[in-house]
C-alpha cells in the first residue's frame, strides 16, 4: 500500500516538476547569457497554451501512427516512473525491472521515430534517421551500463541497486552514466536530431497543438527520469537524508547540465557517433573490472 502511495506521489511530482525545471534551466541559460530570461513557470505556460491550440494534420501523414506516437512515447516514459522512485523512496519492484526501464526508454525513442516517419516530411525523416542512429548507440550504452551495474549487484532488481556499493567500477560506471544521461536527454551538442538551423526541429516539425505538447513533455519527463535514476544510485537509504539529497540533486544536476549545455556547439552526427564509440571503450573497461568484483 505504501509503495502505491509513493508511486502516485512520485508520478505526480514528476509531472509537475519536469516542465518547471525546464523553466529553471531556461532561466539559468539566460543568466549565463547575461539576460533576464523568462519566468520559471514559462514552460508550463507554453504547455498549457499548446493544449488549447488547434491541431493540424499534415496531408501526407499516416494518421493513426502520427497521432498515437506522442501518446506512446509519453506513456512509456510515464510508466517508467512506476519503477524508478523520485521524491519518495519506493516503487513497483519486481524481478527484472531494470530491463523494463531500459526497454521503455528505448520505446519512447522509437515512438518519436515512428511519428516522424509517418508525418511524411523529409526533414522529419532526416531527423528521425539521426535520432535513430543516436538512439541506437545511446540505448546500447545505457543498457550496457545498467547491465554492468546488475553484474556488480548480481541482481536485475532496481531496489537491490539503490544505493550502489562504492567500488572502482561503480564509480567509473556512474561517471559514464552521467555522460550517457547527458546525451540521452538531447542536449547540445547531442541535439543533432532536433537541430534547428539544419533540419528544423527534425522529428517534431509537423506536430502541432497538444501532440507537440506531448512530445515536449516526454522529453522533460525523460530528463527527470534519468536524473532520478542517477540520484537513486548514489543517495543513502535513510529516508530523510535521501529526500533532502534528492531535492538538492534534482535541482542542482539540471542546473549544472544547463550551464554545460549553454557552452557547447552542436556536433555533427558522425562526430557524435565517433565520440560515443570512444566512450564505449571506457564502458568495456569498467565492465571488465566489474566482472572481477572491484
Amino acid at each position: 500500500m505504501n509503495a502505491i502511495i509513493a508511486v502516485i506521489v512520485n508520478v505526480i511530482f514528476a509531472l509537475l516538476y519536469a516542465p518547471l525545471i525546464d523553466g529553471v534551466e531556461r532561466k539559468i541559460k539566460a543568466r549565463v547569457q547575461r539576460r533576464k530570461g523568462p519566468p520559471i513557470q514559462q514552460t508550463w505556460y507554453d504547455i498549457l497554451k499548446l493544449f488549447k491550440k488547434e491541431e493540424i494534420m499534415p496531408k501526407d501523414a499516416t494518421k493513426s501512427i502520427f497521432i498515437s506516437a506522442p501518446f506512446m512515447a509519453f506513456l512509456s516514459v510515464l510508466i517508467s516512473y512506476l519503477f524508478v522512485p523520485t521524491i519518495l523512496p519506493g516503487a513497483l519492484y519486481f524481478y527484472g525491472d531494470i530491463i523494463v526501464v531500459v526497454y521503455l526508454l528505448a520505446f519512447s525513442s522509437i515512438a518519436f521515430f515512428l511519428g516522424a516517419f509517418s508525418s511524411g516530411n523529409p526533414y522529419a525523416q532526416v531527423g528521425a534517421n539521426r535520432e535513430m542512429s543516436l538512439a541506437v548507440v545511446e540505448e546500447i550504452l545505457l543498457a550496457f551500463i545498467v547491465g554492468s551495474l546488475a553484474v556488480l549487484n548480481r541482481s536485475l532488481m532496481l531496489n537491490k541497486m539503490f544505493p550502489l556499493e562504492i567500488k572502482v567500477s561503480s564509480i567509473i560506471l556512474l561517471a559514464f552514466y552521467l555522460v550517457v544521461m547527458y546525451i540521452a536527454s538531447a542536449r547540445v551538442p547531442f541535439d543533432i536530431a532536433e537541430a534547428e538551423p539544419e533540419i528544423v526541429e527534425g522529428p517534431f516539425i509537423e506536430y502541432s497543438g497538444k501532440y507537440l505538447a506531448m512530445c515536449k513533455y516526454t522529453i522533460f519527463l525523460k530528463r527527470i527520469l534519468l536524473t532520478s535514476l542517477f540520484l537513486n544510485f548514489v543517495l543513502p537509504e535513510n529516508v530523510l537524508w535521501r529526500t533532502v539529497g534528492y531535492v538538492i540533486g534534482v535541482v542542482v544536476i539540471p542546473v549544472v547540465l544547463a550551464m554545460i549545455e549553454a557552452h557547447m556547439g552542436r556536433m555533427r552526427i558522425d562526430q557524435a557517433v565517433r565520440f560515443m564509440k570512444r566512450l564505449s571503450v571506457i564502458g568495456i573497461f569498467a565492465w571488465v573490472i566489474s566482472l572481477f568484483g572491484w
Binding site: R31, R34, R35, A262, H263
Partner: protein, 171 residues
C-alpha cells in the same frame, strides 16, 4: 578552457537586460522617430509630400468641402527626415516617438485639413489660405493677384497679359 572563462565572465558581470517597457529607455538626441505635422504651423505647400521617397505623406485637394488634406501614413514612413529638411516653415518634425504599435491600420494616420481659398476669377478652390499668406510674406516677388488664381486662370491671364502688352507695343 575557453568555455569556463566565458562562464565565469558571464556570471561575474551583471545582466544587461533593459527594464523597458516597465521603465522608459533613453533615446538619443537626434533619434528619428514619428514625423508629426504641427497643424498650427503647416501652410499646406505639400513640399514634404513631393520629396517623400515612399509616398508616406500624400496630399489631395477636396474640392467639394474646400480642404487640402495632408495625410501622413506612419505605416509606410521610412523615417528618413527628408520632409523635415524640405519644410519651409518647420511645421513637420521627426519626434522621438517610436511606440507606434497599433492594432488597426487606421491609428497610423495623421490627417491635417487646411481650408482652401477660392480663385477670384472662376470661383474654384485653389491653394490653402495659409500658403497664400506665406507667399505674400516670404515668397518670391511675383504679381500677387496670381496667388488667388487657379492654375488654368493663371495661365490664361498670363497669356492675356502678354497679348495685351504685345498689342500695346504694337500700337
Amino acid at each position: 578552457m575557453g568555455r569556463l572563462r566565458m562562464l565565469i565572465d558571464s556570471l561575474s558581470h551583471p545582466r544587461v537586460t533593459e527594464k523597458y517597457p516597465y521603465e522608459p529607455i533613453p533615446i538619443p538626441e537626434d533619434f528619428r522617430g514619428k514625423p508629426e505635422i504641427d497643424p498650427e504651423k503647416c501652410i499646406g505647400c505639400a513640399a514634404c509630400a513631393r520629396v517623400c521617397p515612399p509616398n508616406a505623406i500624400t496630399f489631395r485637394d477636396d474640392h467639394e468641402q474646400g480642404y487640402r488634406v495632408l495625410q501622413v501614413f506612419l505605416g509606410r514612413c521610412i523615417f528618413c527626415g527628408r520632409c523635415q529638411d524640405s519644410c519651409p516653415v518647420g511645421a513637420i518634425k521627426l519626434t522621438k516617438e517610436f511606440e507606434l504599435v497599433s492594432l488597426s491600420k487606421d491609428d497610423l494616420y495623421q490627417v491635417v485639413k487646411l481650408e482652401l481659398a477660392k480663385c477670384v476669377r472662376c470661383g474654384k478652390y485653389t491653394v490653402p489660405y495659409r500658403y497664400i499668406k506665406y507667399l505674400m510674406e516670404k515668397g518670391p516677388k511675383i504679381l500677387k493677384y496670381e496667388l488667388l488664381l487657379c492654375p488654368e486662370c493663371k495661365s490664361e491671364v498670363t497669356t492675356l497679359i502678354k497679348y495685351h502688352y504685345a498689342q500695346e507695343v504694337h500700337e
